[in-house]
Symmetry: C2
């Protein structure tokens, strides 16, 4: 039987921060990233792919803002915007992955789901407004939007000032249609799901699914999906080949094999930056703590040579 | 064994032309429309749902235009915009349908696919620029955009003047993942697919899937899907309870039962308006000509009482 891997693609594996984000750039980046998955497929892995949406949902929120300014078109809430990016990005990945498979002579079908993810509305994570979304506003405009749209703003201290909208990044607790994802991948399809961390919803007292204005961490949603469908391995593909200790300091060091206990200790020491490696490491730990055999953090381009990448396991393995 | 029906929801079953298109309005419209599907479910039908995206993709194109004007964010091509509306609308339908099922005590799962549809790039339909998309521009701006973006414009003769972009509405020839759609609905799920007529792609000489700047007629894509998955019945839900002969004329008449030959004759006579009932009738005919037992054109609210609606069959049946 094939091994099952969940692959979480970073939003910037598709749209780079130093590019304008034209469709030509995005398609080229996507093809280059996806071609590397061929190495896993040739090794006999079944794949479920998730993806981030940071740059894309940022653009969409700005388009919503501009559409209201220029044409008076009502802005859509955040859940609808995340859903929109699932459509855009899921389609682009599915189409381009089909072409990458054709190029490499691999006969696999690809299918993409629109994915809702249930979040814990009662937990602490729901009350913490940790995620900045959309553009930066002046204080005057931010105060006006607070009243009009009930958005909450925080001042940007570090990056040039101004005010940005903040929303929670609640804990994901259930991936809708995970049974179908498992069945589709077991039947030989490559499945795309939980894009952008999934569209956040909660279940109210009457059992109804309600929308939430929040952003789910895509690595944590991907880890939950990997656990739920009992994946063997969990890959977080980002823009560095390894996890580093003392990153960008004189004593920077590659961490190639990391046990769960070491990872927890490093996290506690503040070894990993909060907006970047820390959530990836937490997701990697979550997976191995819930039955997964190993989590890998690396660059897509390093999948060819399996000695690359940092591997997190319960007990350190070489 | 359950009967299988494909239900094509009009884009304005969700977002009405006489409303601003706020999310509250869209959610209310969607719930009201979807509640009517309960009657079919209680009659033992398995359902595949498709939807239009006219008002939503119109808004998205304007947001793209405004985002470029105000923030310099590159506009996305039409295939990406259609994909975005599949995400937005598919999510909204799936979430609200789950709630409508809960309200009516129906235990069915719902799953939504991001759907590409292969179009005939060599056919006549690909060269005819029949579909107006996006906002109306002045002649100066239209000429500038023609150069910058290689868009083609036509002057609006009837509706107040100005220039609008025109794209083809090519014939759909293959619904990607139709086998999976069939399997999922056979397993008891309600499946959403081919939203907005599907994301238009073609297959090039090397076997690669390439994007197309076009809009596929959602009723024709739905009819093709219904034929491909061997549905028994095909419902086109719109804003009139019946097909009318001599619509809005003194001798207007309900056409309750229509044979394929009668339908073809009416079409030839120009009985149905090109932007509205004519494409629905063509899709209805396509379905019964390719093995479907009957096509129904009606309002969602008329599903409760099965005597409502116009029924198109190969041989007229009462």
């Amino acid at each position: 039987m094939n091994k099952l891997a969940v692959i979480a693609l970073g939003g910037n594996a598709l749209q780079r921060d130093n590019q304008r984000g034209t469709i030509e750039e995005q398609e080229k980046n996507t093809f280059r990233t996806l071609e590397n998955l061929v190495f896993l497929l040739k090794d006999g892995y079944d794949l479920v792919i998730t993806h981030g949406n940071g740059p894309q949902v940022g653009d969409l929120l700005q388009r919503n803002d501009a559409g209201e300014q220029v044409y008076g078109i009502p802005q859509m809430p955040l859940d609808i915007c995340v859903a929109g990016t699932q459509g855009e990005i899921g389609y682009m990945i599915e189409r381009i992955l089909r072409n990458a498979l054709t190029k490499h002579g691999i006969n696999k079908n690809v299918v993409s789901l629109i994915s809702q993810v249930v979040v814990d509305r009662k937990g602490k994570s729901f009350r913490e407004l940790v995620k900045r979304v959309g553009r930066t506003y002046s204080e005057d405009v931010a105060r006006k939007l607070e009243k009009e749209k009930k958005w909450v703003f925080k001042e940007e201290i570090k990056s040039g000032g101004g005010f940005r909208r903040v929303v929670p990044s609640p804990q994901p607790i259930d991936i809708l249609n995970s049974r179908i994802i498992k069945d589709l991948v077991s039947a030989g399809n490559i499945v795309l799901a939980a894009g952008g961390g999934g569209i956040p919803v909660y279940i109210d007292a009457k059992g109804n699914y309600r929308p939430v204005e929040a952003v789910i961490d895509k690595d944590m949603a991907s880890a939950l999906l990997a656990v739920t469908i009992q994946a063997d391995e969990f890959y977080i593909l980002t823009d560095v080949p390894y996890v580093y200790l003392n990153y960008k300091k004189p004593d920077q060091q590659i961490a190639e094999f990391i046990s769960r206990d070491e990872a927890l200790r490093y996290l506690k020491m503040g070894m990993f930056s909060e907006g970047s490696m820390a959530p990836k490491m937490k997701a990697a730990i979550y997976f191995v703590e819930h039955g997964g055999s190993s989590s890998v953090i690396t660059e897509a381009t390093k999948l060819e040579n399996k000695k690359y990448g940092s591997r997190i396991t319960m007990d350190k393995k070489r």
